[in-house]
Symmetry: C2
Subunit: 400 residues, 2 copies
Amino acid sequence: MSGPLDGVRVVDLTTVVVGPIATRTLADQGAEVIKVEAPGGDILRYLAAGSRSPAMSGKFINFNRNKRSIGLDIKQPEGAAALRALLARADVFVTNVRPAGLERAGLDFATLSALNPRLIHCSIQAFGRGGPYFNRPAYDPVIQSLSGVAGAFERSTGEPRFVPMVMTDHIAGLIAAQCVGFALYRRERTGLGEAIEVPMFENMASFVASEHLGAATFEPPLGPAGDERLLSPYYRPLPTKDGFITAHPNDNRQAFAFFAAIGRPELREDPRFNTPKARSENAAAFFELRAEALREKTTAEWLDIFAAADVPAARYNRLEDLLEDPHLAEVGFWEQDDHPTEGRIRRARTPNRFSGGMREETIPAPRLGRDTADILRELGHDEESIATMMKTGAAFAEGA
Amino acid sequence: MSGPLDGVRVVDLTTVVVGPIATRTLADQGAEVIKVEAPGGDILRYLAAGSRSPAMSGKFINFNRNKRSIGLDIKQPEGAAALRALLARADVFVTNVRPAGLERAGLDFATLSALNPRLIHCSIQAFGRGGPYFNRPAYDPVIQSLSGVAGAFERSTGEPRFVPMVMTDHIAGLIAAQCVGFALYRRERTGLGEAIEVPMFENMASFVASEHLGAATFEPPLGPAGDERLLSPYYRPLPTKDGFITAHPNDNRQAFAFFAAIGRPELREDPRFNTPKARSENAAAFFELRAEALREKTTAEWLDIFAAADVPAARYNRLEDLLEDPHLAEVGFWEQDDHPTEGRIRRARTPNRFSGGMREETIPAPRLGRDTADILRELGHDEESIATMMKTGAAFAEGA
């Protein structure tokens, strides 16, 4: 048994988060992913707290499981040749190198599709082709700043802020993996690879617009952009007698069950609250009423009541609570493994289930260049050639 | 020319955001999506501000372009039979009906794969199989509350809050579309459909864990969970002399160019800031230094300086600024169309480009049951049968 992408060969020339989450997704679903690292390696190896060895941060480990690593200096001809040899036999190339850099290195779609017409060339970009920001560099906060994510916070709290996650990288990377899947499907029918361009800014602007265009969907706008329900100060876990809870009745059945649960069954007749449309139009009053009622009991009391009434509700988990969540524990969400060099590690398992088979073998996140020699051998290099490349630095492995 | 999913037939039994964004993604890439709506229709038709006609909110329009709509009461045998007929010829079934409800309605994978072995059955669930929350209802805020999204905010601001977007729905929906793509690829090779289960909670817990497990990646943990850089109070657009800016130098070249730009070139030798690892370990000091320096010039001055120095930086866009962003304008991001019943509307175009062809025809977001009669005809119903179904309410169309 393996995952749906069993047999798909991916060459991964990516760094940080946006590319690595794209290729990890492909790897988790069965693809063979070869991570090509430049001298020094992916910068994520060094970022964020927590590591047992240099260049093996917890964050790097999380985003790079199930991958092999080859160290290549593609500024040397032998390193560039090895990368081309990998691409000649690959199904998919994923990169977040800027388009101008790809062209300079001969890694643009036109060049590579001449080498391998079946290659799917997925270029993750900060900004799309055709606009003034094309080829500019960006990291996640730059995209949150531009795309309205921080703007939504200002509307809700008075202060522009970022989501405290590398959210736009993460989402664009998931979308890149999605696009690769679509192109793999088309290739089965046409026999041809293609170029995919995934611009982070445009993807996040589309994400935010779908949520918040609202009355500005219409031209002329029927009102300001922004979904006021989501921008409400009550859009947060709400205090109970002893902690926090989130309860979110939405359709009539749920809302009426909620009114009954808080001892206000008459509200189901109230014209402000008796239909989804009425509750949406009177969201501020509906939210305030919820916030007031929830203060009256403990979180555990409310959770029992809402579970019995089938009202969508949940407790509030702090980051550290996630590790103890009873549902996650019971579904076997947290896995532990002995990493060959980093010791015992914890990881979140692949969340989605495919009945046609899942990837079974797990490859530990690689040290820089762990698989350099093996991969060069697979490309037909003999031991002498490998030794020469290692000596010149055209290929390398940490500690070698 | 059409998109990579040209010819793929999708039956969409979903509501609100998580399912509709999944099927919109498939539709935008060329699939034929038939949205099956129960009496009353998708609740999103009524939510959030802004609509010219009842049941056609801006938000519904945004999430439901490129789809057809059939109104069916599947509690009536003729309605259920029509849905089964659609499923018998479909490639993909996407639903966010709870698993217990699917079984009651005979829409579980076992039943449907007996009807159509090539069917890909994608079940989007709030909580995955095997845990105590399985089959419980949830909406986005419930998942944000449980999955650590709100918890990350508490670490960063002292107060648990939600991201002011239907973020977990939106992300899980994008992942569902991704999984469908992978299964379509596998089906080309095996000839068989399969069941996919996409649990929102597990997907978001995995998202948050990848970001914030950090030192708790290791067992025993090397420190508390949480990436302190992302949780910093400075992780936000920073004030300039006349507004806000985001500048995010990350690698050495960018950081040293930033130090030069702020008139502190000597910092490249400072052991706190001279490598990515050093800057990550001294993130608080690095962020503070950035914040102080950025106050000294206007946003426009900084943007010119950082563009010349190739330092990742951008201005801050409020929600309404998105509509005027010069990059989005130049790439033709905002499209306008005359909707046949809702008048002139604005929408974000599909952000990703496929060189093998894109969907060209746009289908306006449907009124409830707009395509009921057409679709029944395609299923072989004659006019009399359609009239009977409309009369009993087994099938329906708004205004019919």
